[in-house]
């Protein structure tokens, strides 16, 4: 996880997501971004534009997302992808989705045309489409793309990556400058492609780097819990996973080291050989390291009966006190996963340790 964390050098916050693309997720992503944006003074002026672009690019994915899953299940890079990153001078939204090759020319020309127009010309084109325009069979009129360029003020970055069986992957990048003086794109579409492929190869479904304060956690938990629903209802078989995610995230918020005002950490959901894993990492003070390591060692060496006994004793002794849970969260994770978790510490500086915990879900 530390090597993955190190790839995010410029991003204050970044969320990469493969998964269920629907309006609920869009709302939660907007909430998550807004939580961060509203906390960061210089970003508030672009918060409305950011929300609009997130919603628009997401709707684009839903509209053009995979329809015939069976046909393309044999293609390796066949997963719709979405990423939002907040850097010091801009917000970057990237997405990737599968297209049939027959759409490449039309879409490519449309994007090229939109990118070449001035703000005034874009306004005219929008007006003309609204008055006489045609709606594509996918439900769009190109208006979404026009609005993306109008709102961001910078051309869209794109790449059509050939896949097999008549399909390609469209990687789209939108940049929203925080300062209106910025007039140049910065996205390297090839590095986005590389990042996308790395996540697919490592079977990562979701990757979040950023703040783990309680307001950010709340939105993330809502979004993640959504993935464990069955017909819109909580799937009782997945309850333990939801609670494990909550405990892991709140643990970072409580014990993680604050860096530049953020409880910084990285969180991933991976699917390895059909099994779902949750991995979470954050920095801790070296002073806390020995205690945590001892606690984890004790938990890992215990059997189910011992874990239950430890949990009950700790609960009985602490429920009347307002002190920190004292490892109750870790014990709960161990019980829920039948001790199927691993942990790791990397010494990064003299006073800092990068701590990771990886849980196999049930």
């Amino acid at each position: 996880m530390y090597s993955l964390y190190e790839t995010f050098t410029k991003e204050k916050i970044s969320l990469a997501y493969f998964g269920v693309f629907n309006d609920n997720i869009t709302e939660m992503l907007i909430d998550l971004s807004e939580t961060y944006v509203s906390k960061t003074e210089h970003l508030t002026k672009i918060s409305r534009k950011a929300s609009f672009l997130i919603a628009e690019s997401f709707q684009n994915l839903i509209r053009h997302g995979i329809i015939e899953k069976k046909t393309i299940s044999e293609i390796q890079y066949n997963r719709d992808f979405y990423q939002i990153s907040i850097e010091a001078d801009r917000i970057i939204i990237t997405s990737a989705n599968i297209l049939e090759n027959k759409h490449i020319d039309t879409l490519n020309n449309k994007i090229e045309q939109i990118n070449s127009l001035s703000p005034k010309e874009l306004k005219e084109l929008r007006k003309s489409i609204l008055l006489n325009g045609t709606i594509s069979e996918k439900g769009g009129a190109g208006l979404g793309l026009i609005e993306m360029v109008r709102k961001s003020g910078l051309p869209l970055q794109k790449k059509f990556i050939p896949l097999t069986k008549g399909y390609c992957l469209l990687v789209l990048g939108i940049e929203l400058p925080i300062d209106s003086e910025i007039t140049e794109n910065k996205i390297n579409i090839d590095s986005i492609e590389k990042f996308y492929k790395k996540l697919v190869e490592e079977e990562i479904l979701l990757l979040y780097k950023g703040d783990f304060s309680s307001s950010s956690n709340s939105n993330l938990i809502k979004m993640l819990s959504n993935n464990f629903l069955k017909n819109g209802e909580i799937d009782p078989k997945k309850l333990k996973n939801i609670v494990a995610i909550i405990e892991v995230m709140q643990n970072v918020s409580k014990h993680g080291k604050e860096i530049e005002g953020l409880k910084e950490g990285i969180f991933a959901i991976k699917e390895l050989s059909g099994e779902l894993y949750i991995e979470c990492s954050n920095f801790i003070n070296k002073a806390d390291y020995i205690l945590l390591k001892t606690k984890l060692k004790e938990i890992k060496s215990s059997n189910t009966e011992e874990l239950n006994k430890m949990y009950k004793e700790k609960m009985a002794n602490s429920y009347l006190s307002d002190d920190d849970n004292g490892g109750l969260g870790l014990l709960e994770i161990a019980r829920f996963t039948k001790n199927n978790f691993t942990y790791n510490f990397v010494e990064t500086t003299e006073n800092e340790i990068f701590y990771s915990i990886k849980i196999k879900t049930v």
């Binding site: 309680s214 709340s218 309850l239 709140q250 009950k312 849970n325």
Partner: protein
């Protein structure tokens, strides 16, 4: 005594306390990071109730899920209410299939050594 009604949010439960009739109902999800912020108002109400309790205090829980910090609050609520009246009843409802919630109820019953009835609905 006035009722205490609190609507649920995505991370806090629905509260329906009727001190006049000794009925205390809590349902939904609970995973606020700072449990005290939410549960302090509940303990304030219980304190007032204890001054003039009903003959029987009935506490009903109907959980979907909650975090370990909430587990502590649930136990505290039970212990604060248990001795308020000459008689008490604790009903622990759970949805069919939610064995985890049933187990959590049984566990609390064991830890606190109390009468707690688990009921599938």
């Amino acid at each position: 005594m006035e009722k205490l009604i609190i609507a649920p949010t995505s991370e806090t439960p629905e509260i329906n306390f009727d001190g006049e009739n000794g009925m205390f109902k809590i349902s939904g999800k609970s995973y606020p990071e700072n449990v005290n912020t939410f549960y302090n108002q509940i303990f304030d109400y219980i304190e007032k109730y204890k001054q003039k309790p009903a003959t029987t205090t009935t506490v009903e829980f109907f959980w979907l899920y909650y975090n370990t910090a909430t587990n502590k609050m649930i136990m505290r609520i039970i212990m604060f209410l248990k001795d308020a009246s000459p008689q008490y009843k604790i009903k622990w409802y759970f949805k069919k299939g939610f064995e985890l919630i049933e187990e959590k109820g049984t566990e609390i019953k064991e830890i606190l050594d109390i009468n707690l009835e688990t009921i599938e609905i």
